[in-house]
């Protein structure tokens, strides 16, 4: 029992994933600044933001909303993100081999933070938050189908293996999935889907700060907002790790492979940041059409290419 709690709260769960996520969030802001020819914030900037929100600022409760759901939603979202982080990171760090079907469980766990943000936004009783929540629901309806199709494609490519650890072992013996044409097609689709899951710029209509004033997070302040920020840091870390695990040959922390593993994760992260910096925010209808039509067609093309054997 103590071992499981250690895995969940300290390593590789809440604390470890959060600290690496804070460094990734700094990298996000620094690369953004360099793309715009600015100097950018210091290394510990996301940490200062987090401590300020957690310890200094007061938490304002909504007058017209449901206070219990408003405060419970960020905590449940953090726990969902942490559970996903444990299942994603444990096989990568070689702690346990996971269990059969964990890639299916991950699909559900990665949906929990977004669903909890929606619950929190609707509980706040703010009209702009409600608009943000409705946009987030539309985004979830759009990208989850592409996401499950991508996971189905990975399972097909790994000869019906449902275990993350075995998928990684298979790629280490037979070559990474991205080395084939179908793998490249599905990797591009997966990159766009995690962009939407992390709520980064072309798909950030739910928290559009210029039109909705932060949308779903509008009413949050102080400690509750710090927990939301922490959940976002964890998601920014585990989503690139997940893509590196299922497409780029898996992560392996032994000898020279440590360097390659870190470079793989950083490559996915930098691709996400560059997509974010070179695209304007879409309208919600454009985003739905983009996912439901084009990305789904891309993934299905990938599946067909896999059956042909390319």
């Amino acid at each position: 029992m103590a071992e499981q709690l250690f895995y969940f709260f300290i390593y590789p769960g809440m604390l470890f994933a959060g600290i690496i996520g804070i460094i990734f969030a700094w990298a996000d802001r620094k690369v953004t600044a360099r793309v715009q020819f600015r100097q950018g914030p210091p290394v510990l900037q996301p940490f200062y933001d987090f401590i300020k929100l957690l310890l200094v600022k007061e938490t304002i409760l909504p007058k017209n909303g449901s206070v219990i759901f408003f405060l419970l939603a960020p905590v449940l979202g953090l726990f969902g993100a942490t559970a996903a982080a444990v299942i994603i990171l444990m096989p990568a760090l070689g702690l346990t081999s996971g269990f059969r079907g964990d890639i299916i469980v991950l699909f559900y766990l990665l949906a929990i933070p977004t669903l909890m943000f929606i619950v929190g936004a609707l509980a706040s009783g703010n009209p702009l938050s409600s608009v943000g929540a409705s946009r987030e629901i539309k985004m979830v309806l759009s990208y989850e189908l592409s996401f499950i199709l991508i996971i189905a494609g990975v399972i097909l490519k790994s000869e019906m293996t449902l275990q993350l650890n075995e998928i990684m072992a298979l790629q280490q013996s037979q070559g990474a999935f991205i080395a084939s044409l179908s793998g490249i097609v599905m990797f591009i689709a997966a990159l766009v889907v995690i962009q939407g899951k992390a709520g980064m710029v072309p798909f950030d209509m739910a928290e559009a700060e210029t039109e909705l004033a932060e949308g779903i997070f509008m009413e949050y302040s102080g400690t509750a907002y710090a927990i939301i920020k922490y959940t976002k840091y964890i998601l920014l870390f585990i989503l690139p790790v997940f893509i590196a695990e299922i497409f780029l040959g898996g992560l392996h922390f032994e000898g020279i492979h440590i360097l390659w593993s870190i470079l793989k994760v950083l490559l996915v992260l930098v691709l996400m940041i560059l997509i974010r910096n070179t695209n304007p925010r879409l309208k919600i209808g454009q985003a739905m059409r983009f996912y439901l039509l084009w990305i789904n067609l891309l993934v299905i093309a990938g599946l067909v290419l896999h059956y042909i054997g390319i």
């Binding site: 020819f37 300020k52 310890l55 509008m218 907002y225």
Partner: protein
């Protein structure tokens, strides 16, 4: 200096309240975000919601219609928060001070922590004021 006050000093998030402004100050505030001045070096960023803000930046003269809205925005900010009056109109009323709709300079409505005079103030003046404000925390 404790960790709490140090992190508050290093990450001041600004919410911009524009009163009845002539838009000159607004343009100078946007100048601070450009690569030449880059306020993100100091951890300062503009936020869209007053719930997330640490600094309320008020510019333009406050007339009778603005006054209740300014009070409401001030109540919505999560404390501790600071108020900065920007430009001649924010500090004293400027050329609008004798108008019939003028409802008083900002410091007669809400407590003000820093004044930035000028019509409009230069972006360097805003950076200097925010740094001096951070020194007092």
């Amino acid at each position: 200096m404790g960790l709490k006050s140090f992190s508050l000093k290093k990450s001041l998030w600004v919410f911009h309240f524009g009163g009845a402004s002539c838009n000159n100050c607004d343009i100078e505030i946007l100048d601070c975000l450009t690569p030449r001045y880059d306020v993100e070096r100091f951890g300062i960023k503009l936020v869209g919601s007053p719930r997330h803000a640490d600094v309320l930046l008020v510019n333009g003269s406050i007339n009778k219609r603005d006054k209740p809205r300014l009070l409401e925005v001030y109540d919505q900010i999560a404390k501790p928060a600071f108020v900065v009056a920007f430009g001649a109109c924010g500090c004293t009323g400027g050329i609008f001070a004798e108008g019939i709709t003028f409802a008083g300079p900002v410091d007669t409505i809400i407590p003000v922590d820093a004044y930035i005079p000028g019509c409009p103030p230069k972006p360097e003046a805003m950076l200097s004021a925010l740094m001096k404000l951070a020194e007092t925390i």
